[in-house]
């Protein structure tokens, strides 16, 4: 199954691309199916791939508190959110830029189809088509800087809450 051009055009990081460029992008996307409840990626594991949700829903859970060492079995606080195909959502996009561990656990909430692409494939494509690479990278940078901003606000809220809690 080859991803539809119309669908890909609606994905945030591809919105600037011309139809030809999207065609090129679609070449490096491989469809993968996951049945409900299977784990797609796990927080803390090595990750080299990004996913686009083509059909179905996934559940993203992220730890809010630290776990200390392997032996720490305390329940950590988690946030949960859902991503759906109709949101034109992507996840694991940080793996396209840095070689790092996953920052969240993603499980399939329903049976779902995802398009997968790896960092090597993406970087090769970007080198072959610098224009395309620039546009996608620009969008990625935009996304990350927005996220950085909300994270900064979260930090301020948390430090305020902390100082109130400690001042009592």
């Amino acid at each position: 199954m080859i991803p539809e051009i119309d669908f890909l055009k609606k994905i945030y990081i591809f919105q600037e691309l011309t139809p030809e460029e999207i065609e090129a992008v679609s070449q490096i996307l491989t469809p993968r199916t996951f049945s409900a409840e299977t784990t797609i990626m796990k927080e803390g594991e090595e990750g080299k791939t990004m996913y686009i949700i083509a059909a179905g829903e996934v559940l993203i859970s992220k730890s809010l508190t630290m776990r200390f060492g392997e032996d720490d079995y305390r329940e950590t606080e988690k946030t949960m959110s859902k991503l759906r195909a109709k949101d034109y959502a992507v996840f694991g996009e940080m793996a396209l830029i840095t070689e790092d561990t996953r920052s969240a656990t993603v499980t399939a909430a329903t049976d779902c189809t995802l398009y997968e692409t790896s960092r090597e494939d993406f970087l090769r494509l970007a080198r072959d088509h610098p224009d395309l690479g620039f546009k996608v990278m620009y969008r990625l940078a935009e996304m990350l800087s927005k996220r950085l901003k909300t994270t900064g606000q979260d930090v301020i809220r948390l430090t305020t809450a902390l100082s109130i809690a400690l001042s009592q």
Binding site: L64, T79, R157, L158
Partner: protein, 423 residues
């Protein structure tokens, strides 16, 4: 002030309704309604009997005449316009007159007793206070009179109701009330460390509460502070939002009151030491200090609002304004910061972090966010300090500089939030 006037009417209605309910309850307790029922029963039996036995046959007059006769007879009015003529009729008349004597005197006695009990309760300090926005003074000592004087001076012309809660003998309470005829002083007898006594003083609806070191009134003076602490805790439990000001005899007990979140704590003699020291070393200084606090001194400290046009200007301009307009001296700036609530920290769009913070604070089960702001005081502020909207001035002058006095304004600020909720 305007708002307050508008709200007076529903409040007065509520008071009237409460009064009626109270009278109804007392009457019911005294079996008033059964007495009325019994009287009505006697009346109807007598009038029906006389109607059947006499008037219907002899005079041919109607049933209403019989009822009229029975009523006139039972109340021992006895017009004599209608008179029973047969023996049977007269016997009924006899029964009606005697039962009327008993029943009606009982009715009158019941009604009278309602008013008498209330009067007696009032005198003994046993009545329940129904006022709102009043000032409760718990405990008593010789400084109490000066406090009443201070309240009167600062709050005139809008004198609030003052409720004294203590165990003084009746004649001493009378003497206090006699001293301040202009003030509405009410009295609740009892131990202010007990919640039911505080509830009778309606402390929940009070504007503020002053807890004096209760050295008068028959309790051992040694544990006056102990009782102050218990009283403050009881008030804070009953009415957490009412402003509380407490007097301590020993500074050791301050931390207990801080823990009970008492708003203002004064230790007796705390400032006396400073005045004494200055009296011994610097001629005149102690007299000035005393004069500032003396209620009879014409120059007083007032709290004044900063005029709109001076906001954003410097303290230099403000002190010039008070100097020229009120012949007053700017002593300090006070600013009340708005209280911080949990919602102020969180963002509008509830994110995962917001949920987390909210949940954690709620789970802790502790009160982290007070409903009161903080008070920042700058004595002798630097001339180039810029004035903000939250600032107010403390001014030394002979007359109140425009608007509210020190005490009234600060009390208003504290009780403002609470009053808002009431409506």
């Amino acid at each position: 002030m305007k708002l307050q006037q508008e709200s007076d009417r529903p409040r007065r209605w509520a008071q009237i309704r409460n009064g009626i309910r109270e009278v109804y309850r007392t009457l019911k307790r005294e079996h008033f309604f059964s007495l009325v029922g019994l009287t009505a029963l006697v009346l109807s039996i007598a009038s029906v009997a006389i109607y059947l036995l006499e008037y219907k046959k002899i005079t041919g007059s109607g049933y209403f005449d019989s009822l009229w006769w029975a009523l006139v007879t039972i109340t021992t009015v006895g017009y004599g316009d209608i008179v029973p003529k047969t023996l049977a009729g007269r016997l009924i008349g006899l029964a009606v007159v005697f039962s009327g004597l008993v029943l009606l005197s009982m009715l009158t006695a019941t009604i009278a007793s309602v008013f008498v009990t209330r009067k007696i309760k009032e005198g003994k300090g046993l009545e329940d206070i129904r006022d709102r926005d009043h000032i409760v003074i718990c405990g008593w000592n010789p400084n109490g009179l000066a406090i009443l004087k201070g309240l009167e001076q600062h709050l005139r012309p809008n004198l609030p109701v003052v409720v004294l809660v203590n165990n003084l003998p009746r004649d001493e309470v009378d003497a206090i009330m006699y001293h301040y005829p202009d003030m509405q002083i009410r009295f609740v007898r009892g131990n202010f460390t007990k919640e039911e006594i505080l509830a009778r003083a309606n402390v929940k609806r009070a504007r503020s509460a002053i807890i004096l070191a209760d050295t008068a009134g028959g309790y051992p003076p040694d544990n006056a502070d102990e009782r102050t602490v218990f009283g403050c805790m009881a008030i804070k439990t009953l009415a957490p939002k009412v402003k509380t000001c407490a007097e301590l005899l020993s500074a050791e007990n301050r931390e207990h009151l801080v823990r009970a979140k008492v708003d203002e704590i004064f230790v007796r003699g705390e400032y006396g030491a400073a005045i004494l020291a200055s009296a011994a070393t610097t001629t005149g200084l102690s007299t000035v200090m005393k004069g500032l606090l003396d209620l009879d001194e014409p120059n007083k400290l007032w709290r004044a609002e900063i005029p709109e046009r001076l906001i954003g200007q410097t303290v230099a301009e403000l002190s010039q304004y008070f100097r020229e307009k009120f012949d007053g001296l700017l002593i300090a700036l006070v600013a009340e910061t708005a209280p911080i609530g949990l919602e102020d920290i969180l963002s509008e769009d509830a994110t995962a972090i917001d949920d987390f913070i909210r949940r954690k604070f709620q789970d802790s089960g502790r009160e982290y966010f007070s409903s009161k702001g903080k008070l920042l005081v700058q004595i002798n502020p630097a001339l180039d300090t810029l004035l903000t909207r939250s600032d107010a001035a403390i001014v030394l002058s002979r007359h109140r500089p425009s608007g509210a006095s020190l005490l009234e304004k600060s009390l208003d600020l504290v009780s403002g939030g609470r009053r808002g909720e009431d409506r």
